[in-house]
């Protein structure tokens, strides 16, 4: 990686070209910003207070340990409800105060503050639910934000893993060629035609339910990668084929470099540019397939916040809760559009076409 980042003038040129394509560049900035914000999501959307000043002492519950309700003078042992605490402080008119995040709700938390909550509260500023709530009174905005974080992280992991497998398979096939290539191509072709969604559904539905959420998510990721790495292999194979014929590879061979060294030190850095152009589209594909899987109920295990699950709720309750569909489709479309813009810009930057036009 170092070699590409440091001294490749071609790469800097491509980067400059990417920056000059305004639509893609700003989409990229915006996406990165959005993702970093979502990584710090606890500071903006959370049921825990940011700062509590209680009897002259400061507490920072956001990333700290749980503080029992008893500590602040409530009559329960479980974690403090900071929204109640805020009201209590106001009522007692004491010197104590606390600062809540902008949206004072967590993604898993069911807000049963109101007397008669039947689920599906419409959006309102007074209640603090900017996008309303879902059927179990969970805040839609909080779930969208954390859903974004999970979907993007998931997609980045997916990108990394698929590329890893595709690079290995593609460079082996491209570099050794001949019979290895023939056999490999056939196998990849067969594997590519095994229907992705069916296999994922079959395998996900037999996943034991006693596995923890972390296990389930990572095995879902592995299953998805397992059945979709093939697409990139063709491109890498073709790129390696092209590069292999060049003189520097023969030179390396003559010096006596091993196959592994030639592949990893010499060929890969030159093949990487192919990968970069496809990366945004891979991300977009990953986001939409994880959303589709969640929509069908075969994705992330509940109660993980996810767009697909929200969309499903929304479609089932179009008449009662239209805000769910509107907000989840909007964020989905926004994200995917931004990613697509980035992808289009990257592609243009890496493969510029100069057209002559007739005026």
């Amino acid at each position: 990686m170092k070699t590409i980042l440091k001294l490749n003038p071609l790469t800097t040129k491509k980067l400059r070209r990417f920056r000059s394509i305004k639509r893609g560049y700003w989409s990229f900035i915006f996406l990165v910003l959005l993702y970093s914000l979502s990584l710090l999501g606890e500071l903006f959307v959370n049921k825990r207070a940011l700062i509590v000043s209680y009897q002259g002492e400061f507490f920072f519950p956001t990333y700290g340990e749980q503080i029992s309700g008893k500590f602040f003078g409530f009559d329960y042992e479980y974690e403090t409800n900071y929204r109640d605490l805020q009201k209590k402080f106001e009522k007692e008119n004491s010197n104590d105060w606390l600062l809540m995040p902008i949206v004072p709700f967590g993604p898993y938390e069911m807000d049963y503050a109101k007397e008669s909550s039947t689920g599906f509260s419409p959006p309102s500023f007074s209640s603090g639910h900017f996008c309303g709530t879902d059927k179990t009174e969970r805040d839609v905005f909080a779930r969208l934000l954390y859903g974004f974080r999970i979907a993007m992280t998931f997609s980045l992991g997916y990108l990394l893993l698929t590329y890893l497998i595709a690079i290995c398979a593609g460079s082996i096939m491209g570099y050794f060629g001949g019979r290895t290539d023939m056999l490999g191509l056939r196998l990849v072709e067969i594997w590519a035609n095994v229907p992705f969604l069916y296999m994922v559904i079959i395998l996900v539905s037999v996943m034991p339910s006693w596995w923890g959420t972390g296990w389930q998510v990572s095995s879902l990721l592995l299953i998805m990668v397992l059945f979709s790495w093939t697409g990139m292999t063709y491109y890498i194979r073709a790129a390696v084929y092209k590069e292999k014929a060049r003189d520097y590879v023969s030179a390396a061979k003559v010096i006596g470099a091993s196959s592994a060294r030639i592949i990893f030190r010499h060929l890969l850095p030159n093949v990487i540019s192919t990968l970069v152009t496809f990366a945004p589209f891979t991300i977009a594909a990953a986001v939409s397939s994880i959303t589709a899987l969640d929509f069908l109920g075969y994705g992330l295990p509940p109660p993980t916040p996810s767009w697909g699950e929200l969309l499903k709720q929304g479609v089932n309750n179009l008449r009662i809760a239209p805000w769910i569909v509107i907000s989840s489709v909007s964020i989905l479309v926004l994200t995917l559009t931004l990613v697509t813009f980035v992808g289009e810009a990257v592609r243009e930057a890496f493969d510029p076409k100069k057209f002559s036009t007739y005026e």
Partner: protein
């Protein structure tokens, strides 16, 4: 290279359907246990063991799990024969001879025309069969021969005959069919293997016919969910998907080619940028997400369009014009969802290739010789730019039939995609295999079609 690839795909999927737990067998067992528990009316937990060994065996046979995996696959393919008309016969005590009535397979007499000369002489008909037909009445011209016309008459079909099978057991435990020569078809008999813990049980003979009925014979088996032949189940749902597939295909090309040309000619103008943004947004939106949004606005908020399905309930009673209107109202939203994804790809392909060609030397030459810009585009560049689009046509063939089950789910359209999805969920594996074989075949055929189209459109490409 189609057959090996198809074979590989089917082996892969077959293996996964067999090896994945929670298959049809487990599901059926769970259902039966629930039924027996409900029927048992709160009996003790012993009723969980309601499934006897025999029932289990019966179900295994029903779902084809009684054979090793590789055999089951070959049976599915039609290379190994399938066992049909299966029945068990118990030899109680010292019984050495038993008989069982079986129905003989019905088949047209024409099948007996073994020598393929078009004639069936009286002595060519086996005596077992001669019993069931009235040769003289079939033989209208009384020449002791049945010719093609006579053989194919409706009453030359043997059906419903029942015969007695006589089974004989020797002291060592072997069983044979005594009167095999009098029976039609391929009846087989074999001793059932006894597991060690029931070595004292009565010997059981299994009687069955063998018949090659697999994919090679055009038989995809029976759907376990519908109880109908898989091919029938699939054929019922194909027209809906084909309808949407064809419309999508036609509309995509009808819109994208002119749009691509327009964008290429007006490159870097405001129209170009605006339409690019629209197209990319369309590309980014998943069809089903758009579908749920459309449903919300057009069907729920405005109540203009129906919620789903392909036609209204009273479709039959409407007049011709109203029927068309009804269909159009139901198709509008799903069609939008199908269309939106393909627009970007075809339009940009058209635009980019046209621009490539426009900056090529031969167009410049044409312009220099005084050809007008319009003619240069239409007559020179456009034709060459359409070549790469031809490659794409073949890939669209899959779309003709398969459709997208996400869109079908949202709009409640009972098409091919939804069938595949539901069969996976219900573990209706014969249908899963059938759906997959069909779509994989179509996809590979589509690739060939693409190549053929390119060779047709582009005179430089030739198959050697």
């Amino acid at each position: 290279m189609i057959p090996p690839t198809l074979l590989g795909i089917s082996i892969m999927v077959f293996a996964i359907t067999r090896l994945a737990p929670g298959g049809p067998l487990e599901q059926a067992m769970m259902q039966m246990q629930q039924v027996s528990e409900e029927g048992g009316g709160g009996r003790s937990s012993g009723s969980i063991q309601a499934l006897s060994r025999e029932q289990l065996e019966q179900m295994k046979r029903l779902y084809g799990f009684d054979k090793p995996h590789w055999q089951a696959y070959l049976i599915w393919l039609g290379i190994l024969p399938r066992e049909t008309e299966f029945r068990q016969i118990r030899f109680l005590g010292d019984e050495l001879e038993l008989s069982e009535r079986v129905s003989l397979p019905s088949f047209p007499l024409a099948q007996l025309d073994w020598d393929r000369d078009g004639y069936l002489q009286r002595d060519e008909v086996p005596p077992t069969i001669l019993k069931y037909i009235n040769f003289n009445s079939l033989d209208q011209n009384q020449d002791n021969e049945l010719d093609n016309e006579e053989i194919n008459k409706p009453n030359s079909i043997i059906q419903g005959a029942r015969e007695k099978v006589i089974l004989k057991r020797d002291r060592l435990g072997g069983v044979t069919i005594v009167n095999l020569s009098e029976l039609l078809g391929n009846w087989n008999v074999r001793m059932k293997e006894r597991s060690p813990d029931q070595s004292n049980a009565v010997p059981v003979a299994e009687l069955f016919m063998t018949q090659h009925e697999g994919v090679l014979q055009g038989n995809f088996g029976q759907s376990t969910r519908f109880g109908e032949p898989v091919l029938h189940v699939i054929a019922e749902r194909l027209p809906v998907s084909t309808y949407f597939g064809l419309l999508t295909f036609l509309l995509t090309y009808a819109v994208c080619i002119p749009l691509g040309i327009f964008k290429a000619v007006r490159h870097n103008t405001l129209y170009d940028d605006l339409s690019s943004i629209l197209i990319f947004v369309g590309y980014a939106v998943p069809g089903y997400a758009l579908g749920s949004l459309l449903l919300l606005f057009f069907s729920v908020k405005l109540d203009w369009l129906p919620m789903g399905g392909l036609v209204s309930e009273n479709h039959e009673q409407l007049s011709m014009f109203e029927q068309l209107k009804d269909l159009a109202e139901h198709s509008f939203q799903p069609l939008c969802c199908y269309l939106i994804g393909g627009f970007a790809f075809v339009t940009m392909m058209m635009k980019n290739h046209l621009m490539d060609n426009l900056s090529a030397d031969y167009v410049r030459t044409a312009m220099a010789k005084g050809v007008s810009f319009g003619n240069a585009v239409r007559k020179h560049a456009l034709r060459n730019s359409l070549v790469p689009l031809a490659t794409n046509v073949g890939h669209q063939v899959t779309l003709f039939v398969t459709g997208s089950f996400l869109i079908e789910t949202i709009f409640d359209i009972d098409g091919f995609g939804l069938l595949g999805f539901n069969s996976v969920i219900d573990r209706d594996y014969p249908v899963v295999m059938g759906v997959l074989t069909l779509s994989a075949t179509l996809m590979l055929l589509g690739n060939i079609l693409s190549d053929a189209l390119v060779a047709m459109v582009d005179p430089r490409v030739r198959f050697e």
